[in-house]
């Protein structure tokens, strides 16, 4: 499970939804040990500006082919640079990093995955693994709740429904599926259908994760949430990726987790949600030149 640095060759890059790209890279050394929920630090540019690598979750892991895929949205300069690269280019990559998802021990219980926007990225590989050893009828016990701001931002969902799982979509503007937040759709469905998930996986914006965490704590349903933080190293060396954690002994004392080492997958109770501060919002790239 060692981390490696590799020189990954770009095999393919496709724009699969609005400003959303799927990038396929060749890296045998990373593909063989990677697990769902883990991530890589990827060079987005040659030169010193942008300077830092960027973290991206595994969207697909194909150990036999020696390939990995990431799915990313262009939100700033780094992801913009990345979207400019083409097959044949080489990018430095470090991985696999972080803890990754834990798969359920029993496979006969209801599992719910909740994705907000680009949060779908790590859940794809998870869905593949959850369904891989499952008979077709049992796959119906896996539900994906997938929300985005608008239909154009949704990855085509047949990719998921053809895995045999149940897919429920929402958009903030109602342009596809349920109109509203994905967490609302989830709570609605769970209350209506009265089948309670045995396990929750989620990835998406912080507020979404917060609502999932609330629900999971209130309902006492175990959850695995994929969190983000700004990162410089991804390997536990810079201590930059801290998130507040409940202090074991004294609630008034600060204590921090590090997303790259202790995460990026956390259970709801590991994060001190009350101590989370609002962070600067995502800039619209190049809006003001």
């Amino acid at each position: 499970m060692a981390m490696v640095q590799d020189d990954a060759r770009v095999v393919d890059q496709q724009e699969v939804a609005e400003r959303t790209f799927r990038l396929r890279l060749r890296s045998e050394r990373i593909a063989v040990t990677a697990r769902a929920g883990q991530f890589v630090m990827l060079q987005v540019h040659h030169g010193t500006d942008p300077l830092l690598k960027r973290p991206f979750s595994f969207h697909r892991i194909m150990p036999e082919e020696g390939l990995i895929e990431i799915l990313y949205r262009v939100v700033g300069r780094g992801t913009w640079c990345l979207s400019q690269c083409s097959p044949g280019n080489h990018l430095k990559i470090v991985g696999p990093l972080g803890n990754g998802f834990t798969l359920p021990e029993k496979d006969d219980r209801t599992v719910v995955l909740i994705a907000g926007g680009i949060g779908i990225a790590p859940l794809h590989e998870l869905m593949v693994q959850l369904t891989s050893n499952l008979q077709a009828d049992k796959r119906h016990a896996i539900h994906l709740f997938y929300g985005a701001r608008t239909a154009a931002e949704l990855i085509p969902t047949h990719l998921y429904s053809r895995l045999g799982i149940m897919v429920h979509c929402s958009t903030d503007d109602g342009s596809s599926g349920y109109q509203g937040y994905v967490t609302q759709l989830f709570e609605l469905m769970v209350n209506q259908e009265r089948h309670r998930p045995a396990l929750l996986y989620a990835c998406g914006p912080l507020v979404m994760l917060y609502h999932v965490a609330r629900w999971s704590l209130a309902q006492n349903v175990p959850s695995q949430l994929s969190l983000e933080s700004l990162m410089a190293c991804g390997i536990g060396a810079c201590l930059g990726c801290a998130l507040p954690a409940p202090h074991p002994d004294d609630p008034m004392t600060d204590s921090y987790l590090h997303v790259c080492k202790d995460g990026p997958i956390f259970k709801a109770g590991s994060i001190a949600w009350t101590k989370l501060q609002r962070q600067p919002t995502t800039p619209q790239i190049y809006l003001y030149n």
Binding site: T48, D49, V207, Y210, A213, R214, L217, A218, N220, P246, P251, K267, A268, G269, W273, T274, K275, L276, Q277, R278, P283, Q284, I285, Y286, L287, Y288, N289
Partner: protein, 333 residues
Amino acid sequence: MDQASKTTDHPPDLSVQLGPLHLKNPVMVASGTCGYGEEYADFLELGQLGAVVVKGISLRPRPGNPPPRLVETPSGMINAIGLENVGVAAFLTEKLPYLRTQQVPVIVNILGNTVEEYVELATRLDGVDGIAALEINISCPNVKKGGVLFGTNPEAAAGVVRAVRRATALPLITKLTPNVTDIRAIARAAVDAGSDMLSCINTVAAVAVDIFSRRPKLANIVGGLSGPAIKPIALRCTYEVLQAVQCPVIGIGGIMTATDALEFLLVGARAIQVGTANFINPRVTLEIIKGMERFLRVEGLENIGDFIGALDTRCVFPFAEEACDLETMMSKE
């Protein structure tokens, strides 16, 4: 990626008041990066700018340093021009007349090696038609004090400012150097000595060498770093200076885009100067002005003044209220 405007049709008001100076917008070109204005005539109408700060002027012409005078560094450049300039006499007869024909406030950057030189410069520029203000460049060696820069010592800085203040009725801007332990102390000293405004920052002292020839990349060895690399330092200096003084502050350092410029305004700068970016794009100042207008529209602001100093440094805990019961839940988990 343009967003729809939230406001009405008239263009947002970019004008700013800097003490006695009223500028149509907060965007100036920085001293030493726009020559005497005329150099940019092919690219823009100077009248579209908030103000023009001309190349630093000394009492007598200066030839400047021997070359090499420039070197590029990561996201920056170092210069050791050596304050080459035509001198105050030629400035008044050869350079100012052109600037006077442009509808733009002209700020004259002045420099000297003794307090007396500064005073004589100020005296000769005082009351001259077409000069809106003086910017005192205190990043110059004081030859009477062993070459220590005026700007690195509060008393020396105050000494220059006080003397210039007596010599002229023109609005005074003191231009601060970042190469100091406590920029707040220099800022306070300059304001107490009569500076109406401050501008910050001048370049950061820097060196570059070449491992192949084993020689410095600048004939002068040490030069001044400018460009995007220093923007975070300039923002910190501006932030610190604004904690120390009440007067208008002009932000300078690494501004390449409207976003960069707005960052200085957010911290509280009342205007900004663009330096190195002019070399990369001689029309950059106009693009910055346009970008600012678009920003104000999108944000639904009618005046740039409403954005200046709007930095919110309070901690915001979005989930703190609701999450009170979460803590109890978590302790059960």
